[in-house]
């Protein structure tokens, strides 16, 4: 068979028209062009790894958000909102906004003043090489896994929607990302992330607009979901459209979680850990041109983050209300991916939770719009991949190679190695994409990773920034204990399902709820071990803690001409809107 025809050999959900293909090809051409255009501006380490530290607040803020707005956000969370209802919006609101504002107004000054290249680099300044090594190795491991998951998610959507061969999708997208990041470094990744941000909104925003028109507005959507789920005998059908009112008991909502898991596990640990210490997102803010821009960037990101549920959560809820089989008119009930992708599931024409967004896209978008929607999904996948790969390369070069292998490497050599490690990172990611194919649900898998590495890291970083008594030995032992305890709890539950009652406090706890509680416990273990070991060991002299610890770091004062110039003011505005949203959807 002609190789070109092999690409289209599977059954497809939709068929692309020539104009759709033109839109997709144009996108690939544009991102590669940007990479080639920026190649000449990535000659020094500062250029290649930190984008010259000259990004405006808007560019850094949109890239900050876009690096997180990968395939997992678009497909995984749309699938999760179908599975768990509006509870999934917690990951965008309490699971993001307070922590993004905390990063902007409390932590950013420390990162920015100490001029670190990475979060592990900060740990080296604060706790020494032990904490840096643990953090950088675990981060590098996590980023290539995440990158692979992004690739896998993209390949799934290409197969489901277009019938494209998954292997071809993985390799084409991976090579494109490798090309533009290896050519232009972080600057190229950031430029493309801003472009991808606009494409994602342009391609995905029509689904909630048209969906709400079809459903009869929010009230109509609520009524339809209640009606459909009651017909299907789903437990707690009313809880799918309420954020907080069903969190009093573990068994009163589809996630099997209570308010404490959401507030403390998600809001105080997972979210704080991810948005303030995950170098993938923090790297974008570190590329800001000055401290004010670095403080404003996460606030701009938070403002847009609050709106992302429109294009991610709402399509999942619309799927619950509106998806019907065109031939029979009966309700379509999506199922877990492992069932949908089994031979039996495929024979019955079942669809997985993560397919809800492409299904809604196919429902409303004709030629042209469909191409833009598919491009939005591809853009999301590629921004997520590029974010992971560029952060991976920086940590490998500065915190592993530069710190552990060759401390005297020249700037030129670091840039040259950076280009090669970008390509190598993509190749490793391709391997992990095939690993991800075995996971039952994409997002649950990723949340497990967060709780392994991110949650204890937050404990270490926040103690390091705010408590000058924390010692180097306390730092790395706490981090190690937190990480190992998280992996231990995960393994315990895998080996003995009854362990859920201890780890997540209830046998009703679903995967996401288990992740929240595991994160909470491992962060507490990290903090306790750090505190105990710190009191048993000798702290660093205060002279060595200048610029890395609260109280010993002079924060540059910025004169604001008006209140509208102040990051604190805009942070307050975003927080007030966040509170109002919680009340509206209570």
């Amino acid at each position: 068979m002609n190789p070109a025809l092999l690409l289209f050999s599977s059954s497809t959900l939709v068929h692309l028209s020539p104009v759709d293909l033109v839109i997709i090809v144009f996108y690939f051409a544009l991102v590669l062009s940007i990479g080639f255009y920026l190649k000449g501006q990535a000659n020094t380490g500062e250029d290649f790894f930190m984008a010259g530290r000259e990004m405006t607040a808007w560019v850094a803020g949109l890239a900050f958000l876009s690096a997180n707005l990968g395939s997992l956000e678009l497909m995984g969370w749309a699938g999760n909102s179908y599975k768990y209802g509006i509870l999934a919006a917690h990951w965008y609101w309490i699971g993001a906004i307070p922590s993004m504002l905390f990063l902007a107004l409390v932590m950013m000054p420390f990162y920015y003043v100490c001029k670190t290249h990475s979060v592990p680099g900060y740990l080296k300044l604060r706790f020494g090489p032990g904490a840096q090594a643990i953090s950088s190795i675990s981060f590098a491991f996590m980023t290539v896994l995440m990158s692979g998951i992004n690739m896998y998610a993209m390949a799934v959507v290409m197969k489901v929607v277009l019938g494209w061969n998954m292997h071809v999708s993985i390799w084409v997208s991976a090579l494109t990302v490798a090309a533009y990041v290896a050519l232009g470094g972080l600057r190229s990744a950031i430029f493309n992330e801003v472009l991808q941000f606009f494409l994602i909104w342009a391609g995905a925003l029509l689904i909630p607009i048209l969906g709400l028109i079809e459903a009869g507005g929010w009230a109509g959507l609520q009524a339809k979901i209640l009606h459909n789920l009651t017909d299907l005998n789903v437990a707690n059908p009313g809880s799918y459209t309420h954020l907080w009112s069903t969190l009093g008991h573990f068994n009163a909502n589809p996630m099997g979680i209570n308010w404490a898991g959401i507030v403390f596990g998600l809001g105080a640990v997972i979210a704080m850990g991810y948005w303030t210490t995950d170098f993938l997102v923090v790297q974008r803010v570190l590329a800001a041109k000055d401290l004010r821009s670095a403080e404003l960037a996460p606030i701009i990101g938070a403002a847009f983050k609050m709106m992302v549920p429109l294009i991610v959560i709402l399509p999942g809820l619309l799927g619950l209300a509106l998806l019907r089989d065109p031939s029979t008119g009966g309700l379509i009930r999506l199922v877990p991916a492992n069932i949908a992708w089994s031979d039996a599931g495929q024979a019955q024409g079942l669809h997985g939770y993560d397919e809800v967004l492409p299904l809604m896209l196919a429902r409303y978008c004709g030629p042209g719009l469909l191409g833009l929607g598919i491009t939005a999904l591809i853009a999301g996948f590629m921004s997520g991949m590029a974010g992971n790969v560029s952060a991976f390369t920086t940590v490998v070069i500065y915190d592993i190679y530069g710190a552990l292998i060759n401390k005297n490497a020249s700037d030129e050599k670091k840039v040259k190695l950076g280009r090669w490690w970008t390509i190598l990172g993509v190749v490793i990611s391709i391997g992990t994409a095939y690993l991800a194919a075995g996971a039952p649900s994409i997002m649950d898998y990723v949340q497990s990773l967060f709780s392994f590495f991110i949650a204890p890291l937050f404990g270490t970083v926040i103690l390091g920034m705010l408590w000058k008594r924390a010692t180097p030995a306390g730092g790395w032992t706490g981090l190690l204990a937190g990480t190992l305890s998280s992996i231990g709890m995960y393994t315990w539950v895998k080996l003995d399902a009854n362990a859920v009652r201890y780890v997540a406090l209830s046998m009703d706890a679903q995967d996401q709820a288990q992740n929240m509680f595991r994160a909470l416990w491992c962060c507490l273990i990290c903090i306790i071990v750090t505190v105990v070991v710190s009191y048993l060991t000798t702290p660093k002299p205060e002279s060595e803690l200048k610029d890395v610890v609260y109280g010993l770091t002079p924060i540059p004062k910025t004169e604001h001409k008006t209140i509208f110039h102040s990051p604190l003011f805009w942070g307050g505005v975003v927080f007030v809107i966040f509170v109002i949203l919680q009340i509206i959807f209570w």
Binding site: L30, Y37, L195, L199, E214, P367
Partner: protein, 81 residues
């Protein structure tokens, strides 16, 4: 913005939205005149016409506002001051 030399990221964004908007708008007009046999849900709203039009207008505004010529002029002014 200095980063990116004479070509601003907003210029690339404008080009991207403009080209996509134009293609979608023209396709929408064609479909309005020649409706397809298999219509999408809410086809009668002609989303591709107005959505394509919106993207096209935004794209044109961004492309002109951040065009290379304007960026060069702006950088010259910044350099002098």
């Amino acid at each position: 913005m200095k980063s990116g030399g004479h070509l601003s990221i907003w210029f690339f964004t404008g080009i991207c939205l403009g080209v996509n908007g134009f293609l979608i708008f023209v396709t929408g007009i064609y479909e309005t005149i020649h409706p397809p046999a298999n219509k999408v849900v809410l086809f009668d709203l002609h989303a591709n016409v107005w959505w394509g039009g919106i993207l096209l207008v935004i794209g044109i505004i961004y492309s002109l506002k951040f065009s290379p010529a304007r960026e060069r002029k702006r950088m010259q002014i910044e350099g002098k001051s």
